[in-house]
Amino acid sequence: MGNTIDIDVGGTFTDCFMRRGSQVVTAKVPTTHYDLSVCFRQAIETGAERSGVDVADLLSDTELIRYSTTIGINSLIERTGPALGLITTRGFEDTVFIGRSRQWADGIPIEETRDLSRIQKPVPLLDKSMVVGVRERVDCFGNVLMPLDPDDVREQVQALVDRGARGFVVSLLWSFLNPQHELEILDIIRSEYPDTYLGNVPVVCSHQISPRGGEYTRTMTAVVDAYTHQQISSQLWTIGEMVRDAGYTKPLALVHNNGGSKKVARTRAIDTHGAGPVAGVLGSAYLARQYGLDRVVFTDVGGTSFDLGVVTDGSVSSYEFRPVLDRWRVQGSFVETRSIGAGGGSIASVDPSLGRLKVGPASAGSMPGPACYGLGGERPTVTDADLVLGLIDPDNYLGGRMQLDVEAARDAIEADVAEPLGITVEEAAWQIRRLVDATMGQEIFKELALKGHDPRTFTIFAAGGAGATHAAGYAEAVGATTVMTFPFSSVFCAFGASTTDVLHIYERSRHLTVTQFMQPGFALETEGFNAIVAQLLDEARLDFELEGYAADRLHYALELDMRYKTQLNQTRVTVPKPFLDGDDDVRELCDVFNEAYARQYSPEAAFPQAGIDIEEFHLKVWVPADHEPAAKHELVPGDGTAAKTGERPVFWGPAGTVATSVFDRTRLVPGDAFAGPAIVESDDTTTVVPIGWHYRIDEYGNGVIERGLHGDARKGTER
């Protein structure tokens, strides 16, 4: 792979990771929410400047630009999508309004779900008047019970157009088994409103977006896709034109929330939501394999949110199959990440009724940002606290490109926290820091413990602009003893994007019986099974051919959602062989399922005599990215003296104000090691080594923060 550029848009900053041969260049610029193409351009310009090349020269010899964007989620949250018309089976028009049981709790924090007096279902993305039912019916086997009435469809479509529909979503019952009626409706709309006419409206069919069972989630997946499509598409056009004008001639690729990346032309809107943190998890998996670490937690402290993801045995181990986007439950195979409102821009305040300090979830974002940013913000934030404590150098933030106003930070903390609590500004800043670290640490602990892990055995990867600044703090709260920081920590998700394979997951809901209740032998018709896999494979080959990859470069893995006949819960298993050839293969499949189930629930819970069903097929297809192995360096024991730039007073809470050594990250070499308290500064992040912790540069040039004087970066196995 030649030169690449990876850009990740976050809530506060936009990050850029460039590989030019063996050279790696990073850049970080404020996110310009008013027009994301502005920060995209600024990120490339800053990267070019740091590379010492012209933007035109940089882009003309770049092989690939990959991008992860928040614009889809933004349009959901801000409700800036188009007016959509939904066409569904008559009698089922209320499906999207009824939702699924506890829909009212989807996407809101747990403390809000307890406030029953205020809780409300979200305002729907479509008005009731924009949902119509057509006369048709297909049964659960895909047989047509009532054919579609084209005149009825035309009448309903016209009604939606008259009510202002600017796009259609078509989602009929059982269409994932038999899409015939959805395709007929698509044809009718296209003939009534052909592409050549100005009144042409886009149409999204649910079986094309998510050919899986579950009428509510399948419909919502199609609705969210259609709702966010226009904004994403419009922004990508702007960016595409901008980079083409500047000399870039190759396709633009987007990072997907399933852990891969593909060209814009082969990406659906629904694939892009939440892709930034997913890229961070993928990057963590890549580094975990490099180090041979089997337990890693990816943590990203940005300006607005704290994101985390779990990596075990060198790979992504958790997926969400019914994720929530804003307030809407959809379906897909999204790499699981957790996010809470805690970051450098989190606003600190004192609850007037309880007299208690609170940090977040409200954020100052990038505008006006923390008080110290000098953009007019008056509320104190975590970054203001770090600045007041002396942890951040106001003259060296973002490499000196942003001058921080210490007085503004002090004034804000004094007014909103110190005065109400009757403490000094420094003590208030310390408490703000401790509280946000504890909040993040608690989130990590909960996430790992609920997955059945001992959080103390995990290595924490620190990512995001404020990750290295806070990682030792929240590691302490978790009980973890090893934190890893990287030269590209502050732009980690952009780095992660650079490690992604070109990948897609092809899915189908198909009910197949493998074994019957209390019956010996196998009931599975392998021909039918293999036909489904072959169909998915054909789809994948065509898709990847259009992406520019021949079939011989493709790698495959088939996963199935399976369950015992008497149960609802499904377990996803990786199938040893994609095609089954006889009873031995089917037996192996059943063994794999029984083992996976026993591992997840307990060996005593496994009950193969109940009979086994297959419910869904997921074919993962990918073209592996080319990766240069990381260079290893000789360790030259040292204490970092050559990198020390001085000392500055830092308030360490109970330890008081301590003259703390400051080191220049770029001048530390593998083998350098020293004890905290210490600060390690680079252009786009500050690493804080608290009292009682130790810092060293390892053989790969990465920074390792460890509790106490002794530690091993290769730790990670169960104690």
């Binding site: 008013y34 000098g374 953009l375 007019g376």
Partner: protein
């Protein structure tokens, strides 16, 4: 990139640009009453857009009268004379409220003009200088409180203009405001304005009243000057011209010598624009 941004960067443009300060003149041209013009966002936006189109202006200014911003913050303003006269400052109870972007006329006008003129005519969002605005929003709480309030209003207005995607920000002081000593609050507000303009990727301009004799240091942190008489040396500076007077200095960027008189005969402005294009 907008024409103003190009000229501030000293990029070569095919013809000189002319960015006059247009306020009540637009009301006269479109026969809109001053009160309606300054208080009604649709009327003001339509008048400014029409004026820009009629005369082929390269940029149009929004919010030239500082009384408009004061009124949005709660001051009482009399428009009957054609210019806003503040009859009562912002009540102390409203001092902490700040601006409601949805209810601030000048921001609404900027948004509308962006949609109407986008890409054809640059839109300049005008914020009063802190010292100038502080005199208008003065409350019974004293001069320091007025200055703090003015600083907040100016910053919020600048942010609002940025969100409305104007092409440039202009800090406009009257002679008294420009001459006033700069307090720490004023200097901080100006730094915030510069940071805000940088965030929104637009240039920050500074007006210079007649006889002020400003230099580059006085203009900073703004990037360019719109002077009422002599161009400012050391920074990109427009050359002021007067309708009816000959244009003597060839330049890439012209402005009006102060705000265009609402009673200015339109043919004089028309002739001036024609002369500036011919001189290219």
């Amino acid at each position: 990139m907008s024409r103003i941004a190009s000229v501030v960067r000293s990029d070569a443009l095919p013809v000189p640009i002319f960015t006059p300060l247009v306020g009540g003149f637009a009301a006269t041209i479109t026969q809109t009453s001053p009160e309606t013009f300054w208080r009604s966002a649709p009327a003001q936006a339509a008048a400014l857009a029409e004026t820009a189109r009629l005369f082929g202006l390269d940029a149009i200014t929004v919010g030239l009268d500082p009384a408009a911003l004061a009124e949005s913050a709660g001051a009482e303003v009399d428009w009957s004379t054609g210019r806003g006269v503040v009859t009562s400052g912002v009540p102390a109870a409203d001092a902490e409220r700040g601006l409601d972007p949805g209810a601030t006329t000048v921001l609404d006008v900027a948004l509308r003009l962006g949609q109407t003129l986008g890409g054809v005519t640059d839109v300049i969002g005008v914020v009063p200088g802190v010292a100038t605005l502080a005199r208008l929003v003065a409350t019974e709480s004293g001069a320091d409180a007025a200055e703090r309030l003015a600083a907040r209003l100016v910053i919020e207005a600048a942010r609002g203009y940025g969100e409305a995607r104007v092409d440039a920000l202009l800090v406009l002081d009257d002679a008294e405001g420009f001459a006033a000593a700069e307090s720490a609050a004023v200097r901080r507000a100006e730094r915030v304005l510069a940071n805000t303009a940088r965030f929104f990727d637009i240039p920050l301009l500074r007006s210079v009243p007649a006889g002020a004799g400003a230099d580059a240091e006085r203009i900073a942190p703004a990037q360019a000057a719109l002077p009422a008489d002599e161009p400012v040396t050391g920074v990109p500076s427009a050359v002021p011209v007067t309708p009816g007077a000959p244009v003597s200095v060839p330049a890439a960027w012209y402005t009006s010598a102060g705000e265009l008189d609402p009673a200015l005969p339109p043919e004089l402005l028309h002739d001036l624009v024609g002369a500036l294009r011919t001189d290219a």
